[in-house]
């Protein structure tokens, strides 16, 4: 223990000497002055940024004693910013991490479990996959503010052109649709991908594969999260399916899916709910060609997918945890007054966060709110995602989850590029992930 303190002291001295040490903030501290809570999120661009700011302004206008100040960074910089600020003693009071990092943050003592009252509210009010995504070892650590189940996006125009009436419902139909819609020019350049495989980052590469895996009844990790469960018939089948789609020219992971799908050059793709808002903005009128269906299973009616998301938790180092949880309750649990909204949605009883998320084309884990807001004029393409909350499996979020995900991604890409056959890639991923999880 003494040695640990000495080590920590030395390290602290090193960082302080390098100019990184700084105290936390929480208002002026003078009696009578309001408490200032800082909120760090990745809502750095519109429409998310202004949507969050609107609701924070509403809180600040109604509360003199506790004020909230938002800070936002790009999603790619969120974890780094969280780390650096926390190490420098400048962590935000309220943090908004990706649920994948929940275990890592809990283990590092950045976030603590929610107070019993809030935990009970979360348990009651949110869909089970959303609650599990915001929990570590069964303990809820924050409000699941944003959920991202995965579903099948399809281009109605391309399907019609290939003589297909609707989206595929089974894996067999998925493959047939992909082969029938794919087109290449005489030089081998891809004109239309039948099934788009994204390789933008860990999340897109892995989550589309995990969604297909879940649709086949498989999972990435064992229920206790200690070992991989990928070496199963479902795991091998998913890897083989993706490899087949590439070999037969229906998929080309070299093409940026995020650009090709809005350009009408991809017939099918598996992605999260957030993509609807992005596609609507990018595609304009062409968005009417976009449809969403559940991820196909082995047989019609078999359902399964994966879900991820973000949670709002309180920093363990915050000087004002009570006030921070009070704000989070107001934002995530209280029904928004009808006066602040316009149109048919004004009559819907929903929390401020549900209204906020629906206004930017995404969703919270409150199934009731989502269904009511959808019925009041929301994007019908969000319907299959709301339905998916009944059966989706949350992405594993243990302390080594990010690294395990990165290892899986590398093996998937090696399989895509033919460096490893599907079965060998599964075995290698399992060995590497198990080794990482055992550290």
């Amino acid at each position: 223990m003494k040695r640990r303190r000495v080590l920590a002291g030395l390290a602290g001295a090193a960082v302080s000497a390098a100019g990184c040490g700084a105290p936390g903030r929480g208002g002026s501290g003078r009696p009578g002055d309001p408490v200032v809570l800082t909120l760090l999120s990745h809502y750095a661009t519109d429409p998310l940024k202004s949507a969050l700011q609107r609701v924070v302004d509403e809180w600040n206008a109604a509360h003199d004693r506790v004020r909230v100040r938002t800070t936002a960074v790009r999603f790619q910089d969120l974890l780094t910013t969280l780390m650096v600020r926390q190490a420098a003693g400048q962590g935000a009071d309220i943090v908004h991490p990706y649920s994948l990092w929940a275990g890592q943050l809990a283990e590092a003592g950045v976030v603590r479990p929610a107070p019993p009252g809030d935990a009970a509210r979360i348990e009651r009010g949110f869909a089970r996959p959303a609650v599990r995504a915001a929990s570590v070892h069964g303990r809820i650590i924050g409000y699941p503010t944003e959920v991202q189940p995965y579903a099948l996006y399809y281009n109605k125009r391309l399907l019609r052109a290939a003589g297909l009436a609707g989206p595929p419902r089974t894996w067999r139909e998925l493959e047939e649709t992909a082969y029938r819609t794919a087109r290449r020019d005489r030089h081998g350049n891809t004109l239309v991908q039948g099934f788009g495989l994204s390789r933008i980052d860990d999340s897109t590469v892995v989550n589309q594969t995990l969604a297909l895996l879940a649709s086949r009844g498989g999972s990435f990790l064992q229920p206790d999260g200690a070992r991989s469960a990928l070496d199963s018939p479902a795991g091998r089948a998913v890897f083989a399916l993706e490899r087949r789609l590439i070999d037969r020219g229906a998929s080309d992971p070299g093409i940026d899916l995020m650009k090709a799908f809005p350009a009408g050059r991809v017939a099918l793709a598996v992605s999260g709910a957030w993509w609807t808002g992005s596609l609507k903005q990018t595609m304009g009128r062409d968005y009417r060609d976009v449809g969403v269906a559940p991820v196909p299973g082995p047989a019609p009616g078999n359902r399964g997918t994966v879900t991820t998301g973000f949670l709002l938790g309180v920093n363990a180092k915050s000087r004002h945890p009570r006030e921070a949880w009070e704000f989070l309750r107001w934002l995530n649990d209280e029904v928004a007054p009808a006066g602040s909204r316009a149109g048919p949605a004004a009559a819907v009883r929903a929390t401020r966060m549900s209204v906020l998320q629906m206004s930017v084309g995404t969703m919270t884990g409150r199934t009731g709110d989502m269904r009511a807001l959808l019925a009041a004029g929301g994007d019908p393409n969000l319907g299959p995602f709301v339905d998916a909350l009944d059966y989706a499996t949350p992405e594993p979020n243990g302390p080594r989850a990010q690294k395990a995900k990165a290892l899986l991604r590398k093996n998937i890409e090696e399989m895509w590029t033919g460096r490893r056959p599907p079965d060998a890639a599964v075995r290698n991923a399992v060995r590497q992930v198990d080794q990482e999880l055992s550290r």
């Binding site: 040695r3 640990r4 080590l7 920590a8 030395l10 390290a11 602290g12 090193a14 960082v15 000497a17 390098a18 974890l79 780094t80 969280l82 780390m83 926390q86 190490a87 890592q104 943050l105 283990e107 590092a108 003592g109 950045v110 030089h187 081998g188 350049n189 891809t190 390789r199 933008i200 980052d201 860990d202 080309d252 992971p253 070299g254 093409i255 080594r400 990010q402 690294k403 990165a406 991604r409 590398k410 093996n411 890409e413 090696e414 895509w416 590029t417 460096r419 060995r431 590497q432 080794q435 550290r439």
Partner: protein, 355 residues
């Protein structure tokens, strides 16, 4: 205190020789078998003499030297303080982290881990040795080979052209362009419908998935890195070429030497100091850089095909919260750079060049 030992029992010859050296004021001059100095005396207390009249000038010289040293250190103090704070302290912190487990959030959570981080880097199944370190070496080697060859040829040609300043500026332009811009432009050129594939298609060849195929991904990035670093190499080599006295070329011309002989026998050997500098700096840059890779292939993909040590340690620290193994990887890279740079210096010095 300058003392000398004239001779010592039993080993007169050696001690006498040492005594002569001691006469030049060496304090260790008396170290010999049976003739150990101890405050100016041998063990036997015999045959000891002080420097006598030489003592005072020698002491003055010593005091003067001390004063000079103190003043020198005083002038050096700001630089030394800078290096201590920004180089030595982080280095020590990295060593501490490499022997610990730390998630990057709270310094109080630092846990000793011994050499576990190092053993994990080289454990069976770990990707650090292959392909990460292998890629790093290939990346640096490829960049240096291409950039150096290209720079020597271009610099040699430029010195024979008119408007040399214009050509130097033209080739220097990539240096003032940001890595993000360079990487993105080349990325678009490499894409299936991009310029490079367009040219291949026009020649009747099939498209190549340059950045998506693990076989071609690393060489494709190496080409861009070499292109981007060509400018600075050309600048240094042009200066080196201008420093070569013209008389050698005149003598070669009189002897009837051809252009290739002149280049191989005069230009290249006399350019060796500049080549050494370019080689060492480019190699170090190649071993450390990863910005271009992030821009062009994301996170070292496809798979680990373009993953290099610097990128790996960045990911381990800032993405996976594994600062211990990231610091261990950083130290391994540090040692690698040290060894390679020393080898380069040794090799060039053997051939008579100095940076």
């Amino acid at each position: 205190m300058a003392t000398t030992v004239g001779s010592a029992d039993g080993d007169g010859g050696e001690a006498e020789r040492l005594g002569k050296a001691g006469g030049r004021g060496r304090a260790d001059g008396g170290r010999a078998d049976g003739g150990r100095t101890d405050g100016g005396r041998t063990d036997g207390g015999r045959d000891v003499r002080t420097a006598g009249d030489r003592t005072r000038p020698a002491a003055r010289r010593t005091r003067y030297r001390y004063r000079q040293t103190a003043v020198a250190y005083l002038f050096l103090a700001p630089s030394l303080a800078f290096f201590a704070v920004f180089l030595l302290l982080p280095l020590l912190f990295a060593v501490l982290l490499s022997l610990s487990r730390w998630a990057g959030f709270d310094l109080a959570d630092l846990r000793p881990a011994g050499v576990d981080n190092f053993t994990a880097l080289f454990a069976r199944g770990s990707s650090f040795l292959t392909p990460v370190l292998t890629n790093t070496l290939l990346y640096a080697l490829g960049t240096v080979a291409l950039a150096l060859t290209g720079a020597v040829l271009v610099a040699h040609c430029i010195t024979h052209l008119r408007f040399q300043g214009f050509w130097r500026t033209l080739y220097f332009l990539p240096i003032v362009t940001t890595v993000v811009a360079v990487g993105n432009v080349w990325k678009y050129m490499y894409e299936p419908g991009g310029l490079v594939n367009g040219v291949l298609n026009a020649l009747g060849l099939r498209s190549v998935a340059f950045l998506q195929d693990p076989v071609t991904a690393l060489p494709s990035v190496v080409v861009v890195q070499a292109w981007a670093s060509l400018g600075s190499a050309i600048l240094i080599l042009t200066a080196g070429l201008k420093a070569i006295p013209h008389v050698y070329y005149e003598a070669a011309e009189l002897d009837g030497a051809g252009p290739f002989t002149v280049f191989a026998r005069i230009t290249l050997p006399l350019l060796r100091p500049s080549l050494l500098f370019v080689c060492v700096t480019q190699f170090i840059t190649g071993l450390q850089s990863f910005a271009l890779i992030i821009v062009m292939t994301g996170e070292g993909g496809p798979g680990d095909a373009t993953n290099v040590a610097a990128l790996e340690m960045y990911q381990r620290a800032f993405k996976y919260g594994d600062w211990g193994s990231a610091s261990a990887a950083a130290l391994v890279l540090f040692v690698l750079i040290l060894v390679i740079t020393s080898a380069q210096l040794w090799l060039f010095r053997r051939k008579g060049a100095d940076a």
